[in-house]
């Protein structure tokens, strides 16, 4: 097989090139009459290999470029983007953004984030670890991941394993003179396996996602974990409709924190499209519950010195003692609400949910008799009302012991009650996300089934 030639790391030169381009475009936008301008530009490169049943299935080489410009003519805004950094396309993009700003209307709250809030410190966050992975090595690794699971008795088929290496260079610059550069890597190993029995087939998966490929655990262990998860689902049944306590496994628990983030984000609040409007300073979670934002974690999956508008990020509490300490705001929603940006334009950085003493087994004992949820499906969550109704699968648990797998059931509650009725958070934290939480135990939900 032909090998892809080893390519020298050009990330610093690419970063310089993007920064120069961004500054040049901002100058040209101002020359065209804009009063403010901002640019986001990125180059993402990578290799992704899929293997299935011990053979390579796809090899994909990726190189995606993106360039976006927003201009403000007073308080009128226009934006344009291109995936092509050729001079003609860049010129057309500047013209398009300016043309659009002729038609949009003045919005008293629009504009760049405050100049005084721009980041000035750029600590080394340990985010960039290119993985010098060639195609043959990627295929071999994928086969090892898959084989780890296929070797387990009962696995009958595979949806394939994937190995991906990716690096991203990005620049955000604005007409305050701010230029922020970032380089980051993200690599992944994943596999999905299938087991069949007389009653049908089941499929489940497992994955790891890291910034530094040296952090990957044993490849075959990922396959074994996927196999165990798949086999554990065989023979799943439904439950009768009932009320019961529910334990969300860590990989599902973070979605509960995700709904909270959605409900306290500026866009939902100024539109009054959240069940948590006007809840800053109020008790929304139990008294022992805390969530902290730590944007500067070394190697964190969402670490950054600045947000999507250049505003400096800082450690900050989101929830303390169960009380919502603040909202999640960029400059626009902050102005709409008469508040200050929280450095969250573009989203949250690393969120850390306080954990209790119990590991997963301990959380099962706390659950006692109830439902363990390992997968949630569908979009049945309304941030405006807090109504929550999702399809789930998992396990029925009695006296802290898993009894049998369950599927084709739903769980429902209002998020307001669900958050208030959280009993415990485990210390079984899932580190594959920028929302770091263990399993979450909820006192009672409605389970709908047969």
């Amino acid at each position: 097989m032909n090998q892809v030639a080893r390519v020298a790391d050009t990330s610093l030169q690419d970063s310089d090139r993007l920064a120069n381009l961004a500054e040049d475009v901002i100058r040209r936008a101002l020359a065209a009459g804009a009063s403010q301008a901002e640019v986001s530009a990125s180059i993402d490169t990578g290799l992704s290999v899929n293997v299935r049943l011990g053979e390579v299935e796809t090899v994909e080489h990726t190189r995606d470029r993106g360039f976006g410009l927003t201009v403000y003519f007073g308080q009128r805004k226009g934006s344009a983007s291109t995936a092509d950094l050729q001079p003609d396309s860049i010129q057309a993009t500047i013209e398009q953004a300016c043309a659009i700003a002729r038609y949009t209307e003045a919005d008293a709250f629009s504009g760049l984030a405050d100049a005084s809030r721009m980041a000035t410190q750029f600590p080394e966050l340990d985010l960039y670890h290119p993985w010098d992975l060639d195609v043959e090595a990627a295929i071999a690794l994928g086969i090892e991941v898959e084989q780890g699971g296929r070797a387990i008795d009962g696995i009958t088929n595979s949806d394939g394993a994937s190995v991906s290496a990716g690096q991203s260079i990005s620049v955000y610059a604005n007409s305050h003179g701010f230029v922020g550069r970032e380089r980051g890597t993200r690599h992944g190993l994943s596999v999905a396996l299938i087991a069949g029995d007389d009653e049908g087939m089941q499929r489940d998966y497992w994955y790891e996602s890291v910034r530094d490929a040296r952090r990957f655990g044993d490849a075959a262990a990922i396959g074994r974990k996927a196999a165990e998860r798949t086999l554990a689902r065989l023979g799943a049944r439904r439950l009768s409709t009932r009320q019961a306590p529910v334990l969300f496994a860590p990989e599902v628990a973070r979605s509960l924190i995700g709904h909270l983030i959605g409900a306290v984000s500026g866009g939902s609040l100024y539109r009054k499209a959240s069940f948590l409007v006007d809840h800053a300073g109020k008790q929304i979670l139990p008294e022992w519950f805390a969530i902290d934002e730590r944007p500067h974690l070394k190697g964190g999956l969402a670490s950054s010195a600045f947000d999507a508008e250049g505003t400096a990020t800082a450690d900050s509490a989101l929830v303390t003692g169960g009380v919502l300490q603040r909202y999640i705001l960029g400059s626009y929603s902050a102005r709409k609400l008469g508040l200050q940006s929280t450095g969250n334009a573009g989203g949250v950085h690393n969120l850390i949910v306080s954990t209790g003493e119990d590991d997963f087994a301990g959380m099962l004992r706390r659950l006692g008799t109830g439902l363990l949820v390992t997968e949630a499906m569908g979009q049945g969550v309304s941030i405006i009302t807090g109504d929550y109704s999702r399809g789930v699968s998992g396990f029925w648990v009695e006296n802290g012991q898993i009894q049998f797998p369950v599927e084709e059931i739903t769980i429902a509650a209002n998020l307001r009650d669900l958050y208030a009725n959280i009993v415990a958070v485990g210390n079984d934290v899932d580190h594959r996300s920028h929302v770091l939480t263990g399993s979450i135990l909820v006192e009672r939900m409605t389970i709908a089934g047969e």
Partner: protein, 479 residues
């Protein structure tokens, strides 16, 4: 000379100094004895969007994306590379990377031959189909109309978007095809408030035409009125029931049931790999008698329609389920070749930077003979669900969910109180066997569907008549 091809060559190849004739050289680089097939997918995509919120047009965006995807296939193996620079050296480099999937010397594909085209939609640029001043005026007017419908309307967001995709596809099997694909959409979202309670409603639609056609016959007002109506209904909604019960689904968009419950499970890739709950079941009964479901990419102007798929194959009306019997899968070229059947024109990709795979176009169930009123009247206690958010399916165990955004209780044959959104859950191979009545009111959706698979989004359509399904699980809180 096909005018669509000429237009695509002008837009895609000419700027980089390329002509269709140069593609032979690329294929000689791509092909080899162990390469079964290869293709090039050139794409230029231009889109815009405008958003009105709080009574002012706050945002406008314009974007351009272009490039070429190069794919080489050997057995079940696929090598893929792409470039956003459409010039010969980049094309040759991408070809080298793609063909590294298999070894071999120089080989030849078949000479390129132009497929004769058809026109399900006009080759227009929808971005240019209305002056910007008029787009702004439409947004303002729809906003004012929605607010005037009811004093409880507190927020209105109106958005309009248009995309023009120009594609040129050349493949080693001799395929040479081009398509110019307009797509427009208008959306209205409202929030209403009454006694401190807030609810929302959504409506919208569009298709493959220009803005003027989208705005014909007062459709924009109808979307606004519909969004307000839904939001006001939800203000009165009580807790949804929980448990198994008879469900009546309204016509049109609730066809998302078919998309999730059976559509994905009938895509060729899952069936070739044996990972679908429907694998190996052609000829078996998977739905009640009277249930006929097709995937039809050939409907005029529809959001899910395509003259040709993203591999250059003309789309078809593919029979999936005929009178309850499973008849066929949806195929792209790779899976068709490996399964020894023909492509059904379902090879689709989000962009040149992603690989094609079997995807749905417009998936719908044909109408039956029952009066919808008669269907509702037949239910003693159940749920009447007429609008949905989205859905999801696990194709291996067949479990699917979809979330109602507007639903009512049926009590003693009458539609009574509205209930809060609830998730419906079921088992794909089983759910359609419990269809007990099929309405005579088959309707396609308004043109809002987006389907996601393996991280790729494509526009799709769905449709169905009013349906009665016995014993579905409804995931509310009221027990």
């Amino acid at each position: 000379m096909d005018s669509t091809l000429a237009l695509a060559e002008r837009r895609l190849l000419a700027p980089g100094g390329l002509a269709t004739g140069d593609l032979d050289r690329v294929f000689s680089q791509l092909m080899g004895p162990s390469i079964d097939a290869a293709d090039l997918y050139f794409q230029h995509s231009r889109s815009e969007s405008w958003v009105l919120e709080e009574g002012i047009v706050k945002d406008g965006n314009h974007s351009i994306e272009q490039g070429v995807g190069v794919r080489a296939m050997s057995g079940e193996k696929t090598g893929f590379s792409y470039s956003d620079d459409i010039v010969l050296p980049q094309l040759l480099e991408a070809s080298r990377a793609a063909r590294a999937i298999a070894q071999g010397g120089a080989g030849q594909g078949r000479p390129l031959a132009l497929a004769t085209g058809r026109a399900l939609y006009p080759a227009i640029d929808p971005v240019e189909s209305l002056p910007n001043e008029e787009k702004i005026a439409v947004l303002r007017e729809v906003d004012a109309y929605a607010r005037a419908r009811d004093p409880r309307v507190k927020q209105v967001v109106v958005s309009m978007s248009a995309t023009l995709d120009t594609v040129l596809i050349a493949a080693s099997d001799g395929t040479l095809a081009a398509d110019v694909r307009p797509l427009v959409r208008l959306n209205v979202q409202v929030i209403v408030e009454q006694n401190g309670r807030r609810e929302q409603g959504h409506s919208g639609g569009g298709g493959r035409y220009g803005y003027r056609q989208l705005l014909e016959n007062g459709r924009a007002h109808a979307f606004a009125a519909e969004a307000v109506r839904q939001a006001l209904v939800n203000l009165e909604a009580v807790d949804a029931p929980a448990g198994g019960m008879t469900v009546v689904l309204g016509p049109g968009w609730p066809g998302i049931l078919l998309h999730e419950a059976i559509g994905h499970g009938l895509e060729g890739d899952f069936n070739r790999k044996g990972s679908s709950a429907f694998a190996g079941r052609i000829g078996e009964r998977v739905a009640a008698k009277g249930v006929t479901v097709v995937d039809d990419g050939t409907l005029d102007g529809r959001r899910g329609s395509l003259n040709i798929d993203d591999e250059g194959t003309p789309t078809e009306c593919t029979m999936l389920i005929e009178d309850g019997i499973l008849r066929g899968y949806m195929q792209d070229k790779l899976n068709a070749r490996l399964m020894g059947v023909k492509s059904t024109g379902n090879g689709r990709r989000e962009s040149f930077a992603q690989l094609p795979m079997p995807r749905m176009t417009n998936t719908y169930m044909r109408g039956g003979d029952r009066d919808p009123q008669e269907i509702i009247a037949s239910v003693k206690r159940g749920l009447y669900a007429v609008n949905f958010g989205g859905g999801q399916v696990d194709i291996t165990n067949g479990k699917f969910t979809f979330s109602a955004s507007e639903a009512y209780l049926i009590e003693d044959g009458k539609v009574t109180r509205p209930v809060k959104g609830a998730t419906l859950i079921g088992n794909g191979p089983e759910a359609l066997t419990r269809v007990s009545m099929i309405g005579n009111d088959m309707k396609l959706d308004e043109g809002v569907g987006v389907c996601g698979k393996d991280g790729q989004s494509v526009p799709v359509g769905v449709g169905q008549p009013t349906l009665r399904i016995d014993n579905m699980t409804v995931g509310g809180t009221a027990t």
